[in-house]
């Protein structure tokens, strides 16, 4: 698939590049990721080409994918009564990206000045995560650790591959727990420690089929959904007793 996409890009390149003199052209392998009942994760590929050769001293590429945000609470367990472990202090993060992945031809901190990197939120430690509640920075660190362990936050886990010095592509894995919604992709062209060009792309993650119908009905019509659950479970139990009745 990679080869085909690159060929397609090569075919496009001579037309688009000289006309606008675009320093960067990028695209995405799919605009819709579908969560079916058998969904175990997927991946998206971002690919493109630059006007000037990519490599040390020349152009460098950074790709960031950000999923929809949601509020999260991080809790710390403490000892109660000397023996039991219970949830203690908590910090509330109102806007946590449900997915965040960054990859580059080199790590972002090598490519950009620190200020610039922080301002653009490039890298897990540069994510803007305000919080209320417990003040300790350990809650933020724990959130980073938990999200990274779940595979929803990736930093330099995938790498930007270069072919023919001007074509690049990178593949990001989406684990089975990715949230649904709109995803924003930013492709940055870095030249002499400055962002020289950027292109925004997007894709959607959606539930389809039975999984989608169940979730939609459960959310929109909770009463009908509840009744359906009761009736279906009772019917399943009754049918089972007929099918498996012995003698």
């Amino acid at each position: 698939m990679i080869a085909r996409l690159l060929l397609l890009l090569l075919a496009l390149l001579p037309v688009s590049a000289p006309a606008q003199e675009a320093p960067l052209v990028a695209s995405i392998s799919e605009s819709d990721v579908e969560i079916t009942t058998g969904f175990t994760g997927a991946s998206v590929m971002i690919f493109g080409a630059t006007e000037a050769p990519i490599g040390p001293g020349g152009d460098e590429i950074l790709v960031v994918v950000r999923g929809p945000t949601r509020p999260l609470v991080v809790r710390r367990k403490v000892r109660a009564l000397g023996i039991l472990w219970v949830n203690g202090p908590s910090a509330r993060f109102p806007r946590v990206p449900g997915y965040y992945a960054i990859a580059g031809t080199r790590p972002a901190w090598q490519l950009l000045p620190e200020e610039e990197r922080q301002r653009n939120g490039l890298g897990l430690d540069a994510l803007p995560l305000e919080s209320t509640g417990a003040r300790s920075p350990r809650f933020r660190a724990a959130l980073l650790e938990l999200e990274t362990a779940s595979g929803r936050w990736l930093e330099n886990a995938a790498s930007v591959e270069i072919e023919g010095s001007r074509l690049f592509h990178v593949e990001f894995p989406l684990p089975a727990t990715v949230p649904t919604g709109d995803y924003r992709v930013e492709v940055l062209l870095v030249r002499s420690r400055q962002i020289a060009a950027r292109q925004e792309l997007q894709f959607r993650v959606d539930r389809v089929g039975i999984a989608d119908r169940i979730a939609t009905v459960a959310q929109a019509e909770p009463l009908i959904y509840g009744i359906a659950c009761v009736v279906l479970a009772a019917t399943a139990g009754w049918l089972g007793s007929i099918v498996f009745r012995r003698g």
């Binding site: 969560i35 079916t36 009942t37 058998g38 969904f39 175990t40 994760g41 509020p71 999260l72 609470v73 991080v74 809790r75 710390r76 367990k77 023996i83 039991l84 472990w85 219970v86 949830n87 509330r92 993060f93 109102p94 350990r138 809650f139 724990a142 959130l143 650790e145 938990l146 999200e147 089975a176 727990t177 949230p179 539930r207 039975i210 999984a211 989608d212 169940i214 979730a215 459960a218 959310q219 909770p222 009463l223 959904y225 509840g226 359906a228 659950c229 009761v230 279906l232 479970a233 009772a234 399943a236 139990g237 009754w238 049918l239 089972g240 007793s241 099918v243 498996f244 009745r245 012995r246």
Partner: protein, 303 residues
């Protein structure tokens, strides 16, 4: 075969769920209880978020108990009048329980509360069952004297007396309604039908004859579990239908095999085994509370 659970928002091995359903169904058929007390902790163990495990566990218990209820009803082993009194208490109790569950979820103590309830309730019930059945087994060996139908104590002086023909009882409606309320509340919090608490309560507290106890408890369990499912679905939105149906797929098959095997075991031995099983679950959950967690931090979607 991986399957994506739409409400739990995660992907789980379908065969594992069917297998868990079968195992729990087999045990529940063997012992004549719904098996929710085993199911919910198992679901939490494989990583299902506890609110979803509790709500879907209640839904599964409903399905698993329906077939048992039909069978008992045909044999005339259901005291519908007693069941109705238990149910009034059960509905009120499960309503209160779902509210309490929502509150616990807001303050972030669901896991603790669910575990604590399990440890305390299962520990008590399990210990009582083991003690009682061991005593019964020993007495059987000695060929001792026959007890009265049931003991009389302060409870029998309460007002609002009613005659329960099938149970051969003439008692106040307050104790059964209270028993129903307590069990209803626990079933909302623990995601169980409550059969394992109801059966001993009916035998030892209310003095009902064993023949109608299982049928009547199933009667109460079916309706309380239906109520819990409805309340959890409408108020918390945590019932995962796909999860329930996969569990039931294995569960109903297992229950029939278990029931067939159960008829070959004697009452006291069955009760002793069930008691030990209940104690084992309580013990493992207690260990989970006492042991130092691997990661002190946990994250949850905020409400």
């Amino acid at each position: 075969m991986q399957v994506y659970l739409p409400i739990a928002e995660m992907s789980v091995d379908a065969l594992l769920l069917v297998g868990i359903g079968f195992g729990v169904g087999w045990l529940s058929g063997l012992f004549g209880v719904g098996g929710g007390f085993l199911l919910t902790p198992l679901l939490i163990l494989i990583g299902i978020p506890s609110p979803v495990a509790v709500a879907s566990g209640a839904n599964q218990t409903l399905g698993a108990s329906v077939s048992g209820l039909i069978a008992q009803w045909r044999r005339g082993n259901v005291d519908a009048k007693m069941g109705a009194v238990l149910l009034v208490g059960g509905f009120l109790g499960s309503g209160a329980g779902v509210q309490l569950f929502g509150l616990l979820r807001r303050i972030g103590q669901v896991d603790l509360a669910v575990s604590l309830f399990y440890v305390v309730v299962l520990g008590t019930v399990g210990a009582l069952m083991v003690m009682e059945s061991v005593r019964a087994i020993l007495r059987r060996g000695k060929g001792g004297h026959r007890n009265r139908l049931h003991e009389h104590f302060w409870m029998h002086g309460l007002p609002l007396k009613m005659r329960f023909r099938k149970s051969r009882l003439y008692i106040s409606v307050i104790p059964p309604a209270l028993v129903g309320f307590g069990v209803g509340m626990l079933s909302a919090i623990m995601g169980v039908g409550g059969g394992f608490m109801l059966v001993p309560a009916m035998i030892y507290l209310l003095g009902m004859p064993t023949s109608v106890v299982i049928g009547t408890s199933l009667f109460q369990v079916v309706f309380v579990a239906a109520n819990v499912t409805l309340l959890q679905a409408t108020q918390l939105g945590t019932v995962d239908l796909l999860l329930t149906l996969l569990l039931l797929l294995g569960g109903v098959a297992g229950a029939q095999f278990g029931a067939a095997m159960g008829t070959r075991l004697r009452g006291e031995e069955t009760r002793a085994l069930l008691g030990l099983l209940v104690l084992a679950v309580a013990g493992s959950l207690l260990w989970g509370l006492l042991r130092t967690p691997e990661n002190l931090f946990s994250s949850r979607p905020a409400l």
